[in-house]
Amino acid sequence: MESNGCIKMQAGLVRWLIIPAFFLFIGCIAKSDKMATTGTVKGILVNSSGQPIADAVVMVAGGTGSFTDMAAITDENGAFYLSNITLPGSYSLQVQTGGASVQKNVQLTSSADTIRLTY
């Protein structure tokens, strides 16, 4: 009897440990799903003097996950928008202007980031 009581107590203890652990696990999965999202990040392309570069082509050359293969064109203020990229993530951006190109590595955390690239 005493042994049965001990087993019952242990089973109850295990239940109280397993149930919260299960919900904690589910919560972690849900949180990790929420953490990875796709979004658009604004960037500014300037030359070494800090002047904006217009009509340059900016694209993702490599990085986190899968990204859409559309390239952005900078406007008169040097602004561009990279769409449908996984955030947060690390990316290699390729800038092509005037027949020359350069790659820059950036670390992006959210859509609130603004990338500042100096060409």
């Binding site: 799903d33 999202t37 899968s66 952005a72």
Partner: protein
């Protein structure tokens, strides 16, 4: 969703005329068939977007109603079938690779993909088919942001492209306009250009932003019918085994080359999933919307729409029956 295993479908009766010996080579086991369990598929987070009923993901949506579109375009009453203009003397790399796959194998042995080394070949003569039916896209989003992409003609006025080229969730949805330039070659525009304001995609992209449904169409204005001069791609539904064995051709306008030059590459698929074809064909930003096609005899059949880059493999939205049905519908809008 189970992959199709039926007889490959073509865009029209021409498919049934394909001689058996012109079918792309099979894999080494002679059958080329593999189980569904061996397939892999890219998943894309759907963060915050609507989960649709599976029957609604391929439902067409557009920035105009059908009646508005007909009014805008002054749709002609004439109907004409799709066609492909074949230039007998054209230098067609896809044709060379289809006829002499050993050359492709040799080329593959000597180089790597951008996931390694760049293997792309520039198309110097873009005025012959199929290169002339591939279009550079200059996209102006609703908020004024600008992008470049690629599309391909399936009828005189219908251009197929990626869904994200015609519907940008974070940029105001449907674009303000897209300039379409068939066969663009640096400053040369051998077939002129047209500015489109009528677009189509499907709910699976516009509402769910699901990578599996990333495809759409541009309907050119009535007064610009480049496909009548260039010829147009066919498109087809092919089963898994066929796609795994076939040589895939991809050509478009990559941004790392300035976005005004057409670059091509061919290779077999890396994997085939129910809605996605994955390959290691080199691509860069600006090639979204490029055709992924098969060369069978003198016919070109698109089987995918290039959409994504990734270091693990670039990928296309696969043309399955539902996609095929929408392409047929959009083709009819641009006759």
């Amino acid at each position: 969703m189970a992959a199709k295993t039926t007889t490959p479908l073509g865009i029209d009766a021409l498919t049934s005329e394909i001689p058996a010996l012109e079918v792309p080579p099979t894999t080494s086991n002679g059958t080329g068939r593999q189980g569904l369990a061996e397939e892999t598929e890219f998943e894309v987070p759907e963060g915050g977007f609507v989960l649709l009923n599976p029957n609604e993901v391929d439902r067409e949506v557009g920035n105009t109603s059908r009646s508005e579109t007909e009014s805008l375009l002054d749709a002609p009453q004439l109907e004409e079938p799709g066609f492909e203009a074949v230039e007998e003397n054209a230098v067609a790399l896809d044709a060379i690779y289809a006829s002499y796959p050993e050359l492709l194998e040799r080329d593959l042995l000597t180089t790597e993909v951008i996931i390694g080394q760049d293997q792309r070949t520039r198309i110097l003569n873009t005025s012959t088919f199929p290169w002339n039916a591939i279009c550079a896209l200059k996209i102006t989003a609703a908020n004024g942001a600008r992008y470049i992409g690629t599309g391909w003609l399936i009828s005189p006025r219908t251009v197929i492209t990626a869904g994200h080229c015609v519907y940008m969730h974070d940029q105001g949805g449907w674009p303000r306009s897209i300039e379409v330039i068939p066969g663009m070659n640096d400053a040369a525009r051998p077939f002129g250009s047209g500015v489109a304001t009528v677009f189509r995609s499907v709910q699976g992209w516009t509402q769910s932003k699901n990578r599996n449904y990333d495809y759409g169409a541009i309907i050119l204005p009535n007064n610009y019918r480049p496909g009548a001069r260039t010829g147009a791609f066919g498109f087809a539904v092919k089963d898994d085994a066929y796609l795994k064995a076939a040589l895939l051709n991809l050509s478009g306008y990559p941004g790392d080359k300035g976005g005004n030059q057409q670059w091509f590459m061919a290779q077999k698929a890396k994997s085939v999933a129910s809605r996605v074809i994955t390959y290691e064909i080199d691509t860069m930003g600006g090639q979204s919307g490029s055709p992924v096609w098969l060369k069978i005899g003198n016919q070109r059949f698109a089987v995918g729409i290039h959409t994504n880059g990734a270091t693990s493999g670039n990928s296309a939205t696969r043309i399955v029956q539902a996609v095929y049905n929408n392409l047929m519908s959009w083709k009819a809008m641009g006759v």
